[in-house]
């Protein structure tokens, strides 16, 4: 009797273990199920490279190039800001900061990670957006730049914590070896420790940017949501994520617009999948 009960429990454990695979596949399948229908009316390349996104005009124009470029522009801006600052902060926490300050800083980073994106979006709207408008004397502060700054913040907890882990796990002997040869602490950091941790730092950057590409609420609240091909970082843009979030509420289930938004979801899923698998390969390389 007990054996039978345990047999059942162990099967449940096995099934739960497989649940993650099941859900990833399920997500992909349902995105495909709803999203592929759009290609009955729009060619694959017309969809990806089409320059116009007018989903509710007659006939609808469903080209997501402006959205892809919007996402890329915002992400690029966020990367330029968050990578140097994030990696710098990670190095500071892992190598330079005194023990007590280290704990406080880590708590601060965790705090940032915990703030809901809609709250950051709200704060961005009421502080950052007017500042950008004023600073650059432009008609609206709802721009790609505002989005990039806000998203850089959201990427930083990921970048800092994973990069710090990578730096921390560099064997102490490397550093001691460098110091014993007369290098300064800083020389040891940039010649020995950072190169040794570089696969982990790479993974940190990738996962941070993955977070940026997938971020939705904050970006929708502060980038202005104009679905046009952006010409400058000081213009409003619209990202892939914001498009789904803003339009799905109005799209009729089963309509072309609905299918198109799911197809955008497929694009996002594939991007995040590639980023996560890539980052995982880097992390694995580090472990070996």
């Amino acid at each position: 009797m007990r054996k039978f009960k345990e047999f059942i429990i162990e099967k449940l454990i096995l099934f739960s273990g497989l649940a993650s695979i099941f859900f990833v596949v399920l997500i992909f399948l349902f995105l495909l199920k709803e999203g592929l229908a759009v290609f009955k009316t729009v060619g694959f390349f017309d969809f990806l490279l089409g320059k116009k996104w007018y989903p509710i005009s007659e006939p609808a124009r469903l080209g997501i190039l402006p959205l892809i470029l919007g996402s890329l522009l915002v992400t690029l801006g966020a990367a330029l800001i968050s990578i140097p600052i994030g990696v710098g902060c990670a190095v500071y926490i892992a190598e330079v900061a005194p023990l007590k300050i280290k704990e406080i800083l880590k708590a601060g980073i965790e705090l940032l990670a915990a703030i809901p994106s809609v709250v950051l979006g709200f704060i961005g709207m009421v502080t950052l957006v007017p500042w950008v408008k004023h600073m650059f004397k432009i008609p609206t502060g709802l721009t790609a730049l505002s989005g990039s700054i806000m998203l850089a913040f959201m990427a930083m907890p990921t970048i800092v914590s994973i990069a710090e882990d990578a730096l921390y796990s560099v064997p102490k002997a490397y550093k001691e070896g460098a110091l014993a040869l007369g290098a300064t602490h800083w020389q040891a950091i940039y010649r020995v420790i950072v190169p040794a941790a570089s696969p982990g730092i790479m993974a940190a950057v990738m996962l941070g940017l993955g977070r940026v590409i997938g971020e939705t609420m904050a970006v929708m609240m502060i980038t202005g949501n104009a679905a046009v091909i952006p010409r400058s970082i000081l213009e409003p843009v619209r990202t892939l994520t914001a498009t789904i979030a803003a339009e799905m509420g109005e799209a009729v289930v089963g309509s072309e617009h609905y299918f198109a938004l799911f197809a955008v979801g497929i694009v996002l899923f594939v991007i995040s999948f590639a980023i996560n698998v890539g980052a995982d390969l880097f992390l694995h390389k580090e472990n070996k």
């Binding site: 709803e34 502080t127 300064t184 979030a245």
Partner: protein
């Protein structure tokens, strides 16, 4: 030599600056929200329905809705997540399947939140015909926080010394008895920490609930799991962007309640972790 010392000084200063660039805005954000939101907080704000097109009154239904969603998500995600963690920590061998499972977890953690929203819409709302409901929203959020719970629980389970398992098995206990009586009780603080962090995440997310449950405005509280519900993060989004002329105080007040809720959960998680480390016996 002097030159390199100088360079070190400059480099460390720059690193310090980078750190300040992150930490100071974080502090500012929290301070601003508390400072501007606190005047809005009173009993009526927390316990009343929204009035006058959400320009007055309280946020009670949004608070309740979020609590429902979070509870639902955890009821779904905790058993599966915990069992999955047990599988990985106690049963999985180092083989291809385990590698795929771990990769799946990483991917699940990386799927954009709005894609979870799409998925929830397609599977729960449309395919299973649950409609936009607490059930659909909870399930969607539950799948989203699954990787958080699995990862934290697995770490907690793996930190229980191997020797405890050996002792238990050597006394003739079965594998499951060993897990139930020895491994799980000693991993509970870590599991709890992960669960609460998952709760915090579920409470703060907006995109996954946009099309699966969230209601713009509801004059009454949800009566069953098949009802729509308001939710704090969505409510904040609505009154910040969709409704014109909302008093800034109400916006900040809503942001503060949401932030407080999420940070409170994180704080509890930190306290549990700290207490546990202090008490650890091995």
């Amino acid at each position: 030599m002097r030159n390199s010392k100088q360079r070190q000084k400059i480099a460390f200063f720059l690193l310090f600056l980078a750190t300040l660039l992150i930490v100071i805005p974080v502090g500012l954000i929290v301070v601003i929200i508390i400072q501007k939101g606190l005047p809005a907080i009173n009993w009526q704000f927390l316990s009343d329905m929204p009035r006058k097109g959400m320009r007055a009154g309280g946020i009670f239904p949004a608070i309740v809705g979020t609590l429902y969603l979070v509870t639902g998500a955890i009821i779904f995600a905790l058993p599966i997540g915990l069992f999955a963690a047990i599988y990985l920590s106690e049963y999985a061998k180092e083989n291809f399947l385990t590698r795929v499972i771990k990769l799946a977890i990483v991917n699940l953690a990386g799927v954009p939140s709005v894609v979870y929203g799409l998925f929830g819409l397609a599977l729960f709302v449309v395919f299973f015909k649950f409609g936009a409901s607490i059930l659909s929203g909870s399930l969607t959020l539950g799948i989203m926080i699954l990787p958080i719970i699995i990862t934290a629980s697995r770490e907690a389970l793996e930190s229980v010394p191997q020797s405890f398992r050996e002792v238990s098995l050597s006394l003739g206990a079965s594998k499951w008895q060993t897990i139930k009586n020895i491994v799980l009780p000693n991993a509970i603080p870590g599991i709890l920490t992960g669960t609460i962090l998952g709760l915090g995440r579920a409470a703060g997310e907006t995109a996954p609930i946009l099309f699966t449950v969230a209601a713009f405005y509801l004059p009454r509280l949800p009566a069953s799991v098949f009802d729509q519900a308001m939710a704090l993060p969505y409510h904040l989004y609505v009154i910040s962007t969709q409704v014109p002329n909302v008093d800034e105080k109400i916006r900040y007040g809503t942001a503060l309640v949401l932030l407080a809720m999420v940070l409170f959960m994180n704080l509890i998680a930190i306290i549990i972790r700290y207490q546990f480390r202090k008490k650890k016996k091995w």
